[in-house]
């Protein structure tokens, strides 16, 4: 899809695991893995806010637009 998720990059930078992040953000591990593997169809603003709060980053660090040719 044209929207890429760089969650794994940010997680590696902050050195936080999937399980820990899921507990902090209050979503299931399965949902977080769906987001990480680019299988998600939509992200709620509440989830995005929680992610940015926990990872101390901007939405643009997690989500990026990849131009398709």
């Amino acid at each position: 899809m044209a929207i890429g998720i760089n969650l794994d990059v940010v997680m590696a930078q902050r050195k936080i695991g999937l399980k820990e992040l899921a507990e902090k953000v209050d979503i299931t591990m399965a949902n977080l893995s769906i987001l990480k593997n680019n299988k998600a169809k939509a992200v709620r603003f509440s989830t995005l806010e929680a992610l940015c709060r926990e990872l101390k980053c901007q939405p643009g660090d997690i989500i990026e637009y990849i131009e398709e040719e």
């Binding site: 769906i34 299988k39 998600a40 939509a42």
Partner: protein, 212 residues
């Protein structure tokens, strides 16, 4: 006369024994739940995401199992399926039996046997697909891509039965044949419409499930 009564006795004996075993199977709940568990384990090995979506509804699944209507529907579907197979297999003999009452079955025995055998086969396929759909409904995971295919096949089989019943009009014109044509035409249209509805529902469900 003796051969006919033996046939009816045998027919009813098989019917009652099948019903008895079906009721027996449903009175024991534990094996049924184990069957569901192995189904979910297979899903885990295959696709993690699908497993997530199914296990989300595990609480609702237990509620569904206690529902009487679901049990009754399952029993009915099983009974209809097995009786349908028995009737289809015993078609040549039952046609000979009916030929004594309605001479039309004796006159055109082989063409009518052919029509009824194919129509019976399509009917059994319809019930088989319906049972498969109901299995997914019981597991609270009924909006899957396979159900769209199943409903489409059900619709096509109904249309096939319509055409076959229309062929019977060449032999004898009775109002029951016209009613059957109309009923199966309606059933086929209903199944096709329902398959399109399922497609839309699956899109909604997928979008909802994949919203993080």
């Amino acid at each position: 006369m003796r051969r006919a009564s033996l046939f009816t006795v045998f027919y009813w004996l098989v019917k009652l024994s099948k019903m008895f075993f079906v009721v027996l199977k449903h009175s024991i709940n534990l094996p049924f739940k184990d069957k569901n568990l192995s189904f979910f384990n297979k899903k885990v090995l295959k696709n993690e995401i699908k497993y997530v979506i199914v296990s989300k509804n595990s609480k609702a699944r237990d509620v569904m199992n206690n529902n009487k209507l679901v049990d009754i529907t399952k029993i009915f579907l099983d009974i209809m399926f097995y009786i349908g197979i028995i009737t289809w297999v015993s078609l040549p003999w039952s046609m000979k039996y009916f030929g004594r009452i309605f001479t039309i079955y004796q006159e055109f025995y082989f063409p009518l046997i052919f029509v009824f055998e194919v129509a019976g086969f399509l009917g059994v396929i319809i019930i088989w697909k319906l049972r498969q759909i109901f299995k997914t409904v019981r597991d609270q995971n009924c909006f899957v891509r396979e159900n769209v295919e199943h409903l489409k096949i059900m619709g096509m089989c109904s249309f096939g039965i319509t055409i076959l019943m229309a062929c019977r009009l060449f032999f004898v014109v009775t109002p029951s044949i016209l009613v059957l044509i109309l009923v199966f035409l309606l059933a086929g249209l209903f199944s096709l419409v329902l398959s399109q509805v399922f497609k839309v529902a699956i899109n909604y469900k997928e979008e909802n499930d994949l919203t993080v």
